[in-house]
Amino acid sequence: MSDAKTEAKQAKPSAVGVFFDELRGSSLLIPVLAIVSGLLLGGLIVAVTSKSFYEVWSTSPLQAIGNGLKAAWESYVTLFAGAFGKPSKIIDAIQGGDALEIRRAFNPLFESLVKSIPYMFAGLAVSLGFRAGVFNIGVEGQIFMGGIFSVWVGYTFKGLPPIIHIPFAFLAGALGGALWGFIPGLLKAKTGGHEVINTIMMNYIAYRLTDWLLREPMKRPGSTNPISPIIEDSAKLPQFFENPIRFHLGFFIALAVAALVYWFLFKTRWGFDLRTVGANPRAARYAGMNIVTGTIMAMSLSGALAGMAGANELLGVNHNLSQTFSPGYGFDSIALALLGRTHPVGVILSALLFGFLRNGAVRMQASAGIPIDIISVMQAFILAFIAAPAIVRTIYRLKEPKKAEAEFHVRGWGGS
């Protein structure tokens, strides 16, 4: 208990304070360099796979390199415009004064924010797991469970006022995810079955379950496609602007949940116990902390956060369940959580980055013909550089850090 008090005193500075401390220290250098390197390598791939590069390569390599760089530059400009909107278009629209045109001009920016919301929830889910020493690789399955539960509540209950229906559906999603996190948590705590394997398996169980639900019980009547009915209007998360901007309440829910996670992890005794179990289970056991409850709680909470990602997507954007509503948010969020140093503030910033990248890449695919999958490649590079900072240090000739870096190591398959 006294430990908890001192810990609470030490963690006095606000979230913003922590952020600026980190900015001044060198701990932000590696993430920034990782992002820069990831973008550069992505650009390199775009360059060498551009037609203007490989068709000229055999005749004049120098010109080919120039062409390739130009292609990469142009696609990043498209990506940037897709993510933030074109400045010229925004100025024209404001001068023109037409409300619809203004909304259209600002739409890319808001769409990027919309895309970053599921990343926030999923990133928080992975981070909370890491803090408690469990590797929740099953966020994707938990997102699906959250989606299933929230959509079911969304279309089954009719005539509820939004003030009741929205929280009901949203929390149902959290419950679905929590259930999918609770099972591997329980298995790890009671039998030692490793959560990495169990959550991978539960991802696929969730996919198959979704397939079946959409084929039989939850199928939209009269539809030939495997999709669920559309949720009631009273369950839809309110949007703040008119068509085409889809920016919705989920963004602020995500920020509030991030604050809640911060408070829970760093300001409560439960959070302190959880982090101690994660950092040093043996010490936690000596201090009389309950490892079994800790692990189960961590996995359930992590699952609940992931479930919220699913609920958010379906209540805020898609409004019905299909097999393709998540483009792999769960897996991307592993990279994201580590990029954000598993801290809620870091997670929000990384989620914004990933959201802007993904939205910009949609535009890049449409207008420059570059498959959106290039951002997965970039994210893989970013994750590699974050997880192996020594590579970044070798590339940029940085000095070894004085204090040991936080390394993430998963304990053995068999637990204990």
Partner: protein
């Protein structure tokens, strides 16, 4: 995992009393299930017909026709007898065998019941089972190679996917065999990446595997979308046709099932035998396993831990590359985005279910391949069980195995820990 149970001595497992009883009751439960659910709904005059040669076979046999009810009685009685023996005496070391027998009888009872009054092509189903098990078994062998040396490999999926694509491209511009080689090299290179990240830079092995999986999905979809879809000449490698083994392929039932297949099936059998021999009968294998169990001791005795692990992961990558080539060169002959569809993770499951043994992995692979082929034939049999639930079985079984309900996987003791020389 306690330190006293060692994988170096296979078979030295004591079966606790409670587990014996639980399994005994479970066997009796299976017997009761066959009796209650299958037997009571069957018309006593109904027959089940099983066809014993797959379509296109030259060895034609008469169909095997039997009375459904009689067969179900035999199966129920068999399960009950095994259950009773398990309760009273226990099978001891042969528990796994008894478990397999009960499972087999249950599946056969299910098939007889589902096909009663109709015809089921048993041989065709077995053939599909063998084919579907190939990537699972080979992927599991890849995992065994890595994890026996103490490096977790959850990147089997990504390695297979990348190899499938590289094999297709290389095969399209040269020939099949060079394509296969390209796939193996691609797998080996990703293995090298995994090794560098997790051994040299001591990245967490799960994260390193995740890097490869994300990268593989991204790069294959990118290249497929940018080049292979607009330019189909890069996506037409052809396929390895089945090769009939003389004489052996003429054996009734098992001939067409086992000996009229392509090189990937033969490769699977070869590698299962070869790897078992190498891992458990050679000095190389002993060192390999020692590095996975107790790297410090191995190091003290002069084994180069780092080099052994590098080799293990690269070989594992090459094995995954061979498995990946199956998807394109051995099966459909063209690459599609994310075509491995999670097979790499079922391979991981097969590895755990097979207790890190090559033969065990193949049995698990065949079992999971069977659930796959059963799911495909459920529609034909008009059974009211959603095929999705059958497709879930590999995952559920793996979770049960990990939880220690059905046997207990013996995980290499040093798995997941980067080695640091002191």
């Amino acid at each position: 995992m306690s330190a006293t149970t060692s994988t170096l001595e296979p078979g030295a497992v004591s079966v606790p009393q409670t587990r014996r009883r639980v399994l005994g009751f479970a066997f009796l439960g299976v017997a009761a299930f066959i009796w209650l659910v299958f037997l009571r709904g069957v018309d006593p005059t109904m027959d089940t017909t099983m066809r014993l040669y797959p379509g296109g076979s030259t060895v034609v046999l008469d169909d095997w026709v039997f009375n459904t009810q009689a067969m179900l009685w035999i199966m129920a009685a068999g399960c009950a007898a095994l259950g009773a023996f398990q309760l009273v005496r226990g099978f001891g070391r042969r528990t796994g065998l008894a478990f397999g027998l009960v499972g087999g009888m249950f599946v056969f009872a299910f098939l007889s019941w589902a096909a009663s009054g109709g015809t089921l092509n048993l041989a065709g189903m077995l053939r599909i089972m063998v084919v579907r098990s190939v990537p699972l078994t080979l992927g599991a062998l890849s995992g065994i190679l890595c994890e026996r040396a103490g490096v977790f490999n959850i990147a089997i999926e990504g390695m297979m996917l990348t190899a499938a694509m590289i094999g297709t491209i290389v095969g399209s511009i040269s020939n099949l065999w060079i394509g296969l080689l390209g796939a193996i090299v691609a797998g080996g290179l990703l293995g090298l990446v995994h090794a560098i990240l997790s051994i040299k830079y001591r990245t967490d092995q799960i994260i390193s595997g995740t890097v490869i999986n994300i990268f593989a999905v991204g790069i294959t979809s990118f290249i497929s979308g940018k080049f292979m879809q607009p330019m189909p000449q890069f996506n037409d490698p052809g396929i390895f046709v089945p090769y009939e083994i003389p004489l052996l392929s003429q054996i009734p039932v098992i001939g067409p099932v086992l000996f009229r297949q392509n090189i990937f099936v033969y490769g699977m059998f070869f590698f299962v035998v070869f790897l078992t021999f190498m891992l458990f009968r050679t000095r190389w294998g002993l060192r390999h396993r020692a590095v996975g169990e107790h790297p410090k001791a191995a190091d003290t005795l002069g084994v180069n831990v780092i080099r052994t692990r590098y080799m293990a992961v690269i070989l594992g990558g090459m094995m995954a590359g061979f498995a990946g080539a199956y998807f394109t060169l051995g099966s459909v002959g063209k690459f599609d985005q994310v075509m491995t569809a999670g097979r790499g993770f079922i391979a991981l499951a097969a590895m755990i279910f097979g207790n890190y043994m090559p033969v065990g992995a193949m049995i698990a692979g065949l079992l999971f391949g069977f659930s796959d082929s059963l799911a495909a034939s459920l529609a034909v049999l008009r059974v009211k069980i959603p095929s999705e639930f059958l497709l879930m079985t590999p995952y559920l079984i793996t979770m049960l195995v990990l939880a220690g309900v059905v046997g207990r996987a013996q995980i290499p003791a040093a798995g997941g820990k980067p080695y640091e020389k002191e």
